[in-house]
Amino acid sequence: MTQSPVKNLDPDYKVADISLADWGRKEVAIAETEMPGLMALREEYKGKNPLKGARIAGCLHMTIQTAVLMETLVELGAEVRWSSCNIFSTQDQAAAAMAAAGIPTFAWKGENEEEFWWCIEQTIFGPNNWRPNMILDDGGDLTQIMHEKYPELLKEVRGLSEETTTGVHRLYEMMKAGSLKVPAINVNDSVTKSKFDNLYGCRESLIDGIKRATDVMIAGKICIVLGYGDVGKGCAQAFRGMGATVWVTEIDPICALQAAMEGYRVVRMDEVADQGDIFVTTTGNIKVITHDHMLKMKDEAIVCNIGHFDSEIDIAALRKYKWENIKPQVDHVIFPDGKKIIVLAEGRLVNLGCATGHPSFVMSASFTNQVMAQIELWKNSKNYKNEVYVLPKKLDEQVARFHLKKIGVNLTTLTGDQAKYISVPVEGPYKPDHYRY
């Protein structure tokens, strides 16, 4: 057995302030009413404990919504240890509520790099030789440390589920390189995840982050969205909804054409850096906003990122200038000529750094996929090779079905004739796997 590199704490958690637990609990109770998918799973598996014996190490933004996910996993019989996959995204009251409920949680808003890895290691090595046999990851950091630093622990691990585009991208690369050691389910590409969380989630939380950080008037501004994938589409729509002029940058002709068809001007960053008022990166790539772009920008231009990693804006290049902290996660960067730009969350996820992430309802769809993936891998890991899978369409549809009642959706049922006419079962799945929604 791998010797634990960490010292377990007593009590077995580390949060910013455990006295926030009561407040966190109240918010969790509200979130539960907005997360019908997770609550339906609790109801469906009541007393059946489908995750009994599962020891899940989780690494996902420690928010109120995640708390509902964690408690769902516990109600389904799993043992859970948790850390946050981003140093700024933890809601301290959520972490406190989880710690108080006896779930070992290692997360606080404003960790540094070393503390971040310490927190992850705490979720891998628990007291009494607790080691995970399941992984639930967002962004792939936990997956990476398990593969690179503690590969021998992966023998015990039956599978992992990955939440986001960036992590999934890493998984496919590992699969291609043959270095993936466990079966993985790509939760991100469930339709009820990427077409909801990434799109409708960002559509609400982007504006929330920018407003809480700056209170800037968005109407009338020129807002530049870099990347027009699911996230970019949501961001562009949000800005337009507020009355801004929206420009988009793209490298993919299909997405560029989509943006143009929606009425957005598709531009190049080099040409418009000096014209935009608000810039948001959604690409998942590196150095999309460069030092030279920022040098050209207007005074008081706002620069932020809503992609998973902080690599999209060249923050490192700005370090040589003077930084003036206005409030946590909001900084003025002052250029030698006196021009200032406002950088939000130091280029990390603005919706989680400056606001509280996506609303519960949309996260319920994502997390219901997560729980289904965990159950599937825990029970049937033998059916899977060390590759990346997506959940079957039937389950994807089930996730959507769980969420209809709450918002009063009245679904029409196919008649037998109709089902036969389009050759699908009456109860679904309704679309072929290649259907793009």
Partner: protein, 166 residues
């Protein structure tokens, strides 16, 4: 009124006899009464007053010194507190909580929630000291030992007590 035109009123008060027999000097050249006595008396008084004043002044001087020292201590403490507040720290600091100060290899300091022992093997950077944030946003260093401020804890307990009473 007698024949010399002197008023009865001054009888007894005013010497009516010969000048040389007057009980008080009448000439401006006459020596002062009890000059030596008076001088001694004054010297004595001066001394006493000086002693008293200097005693009082001494107290004041002492007090000034103490106040000066205290002012210096307050200013030093304020400067240190301010310095500690300016150390990079991205989490929200709360009164009553203990935070741990480390110094990176490039000498830049940072606050951490993790105590040296909690890191497991050893802290990633050099440990400096641990500080408790007090209710008035001042800091108490753990290395100060006895001076640890437990006001916050006391206030918390009193509040908890009073809320259960009500």
């Amino acid at each position: 009124m007698d024949n010399n035109g002197k008023s009865d009123k001054y009888k007894g008060d005013v010497h009516g006899g010969a000048e040389h027999a007057a009980p008080y000097p009448l000439s401006r050249l006459a020596p002062q009464i009890g000059l030596i006595d008076l001088a001694r008396e004054i010297t004595q008084a001066d001394k006493v007053i000086n002693v008293r004043v200097s005693a009082k002044l001494q107290v004041l001087v002492d007090q000034i010194r103490v106040l000066q020292d205290e002012a210096r201590a307050v200013l030093n403490a304020a400067a240190r507190d301010q310095e500690l507040h300016q150390i990079p720290c991205s989490f929200e600091k709360k009164p009553g909580k203990l935070y741990h100060l480390y110094r990176r290899a490039d000498a830049s300091p940072y606050f951490s929630l993790l105590a040296p022992a909690e890191w497991g093997t050893q802290p990633p950077h050099q440990y400096v000291d641990s500080y408790t944030l007090n209710g008035d946003m001042s800091w108490t260093a753990s290395s100060d030992g006895d001076s640890k401020d437990d006001t916050h804890e006391l206030v918390r307990r009193l509040l908890a007590f009073s809320s259960t009473e009500i």
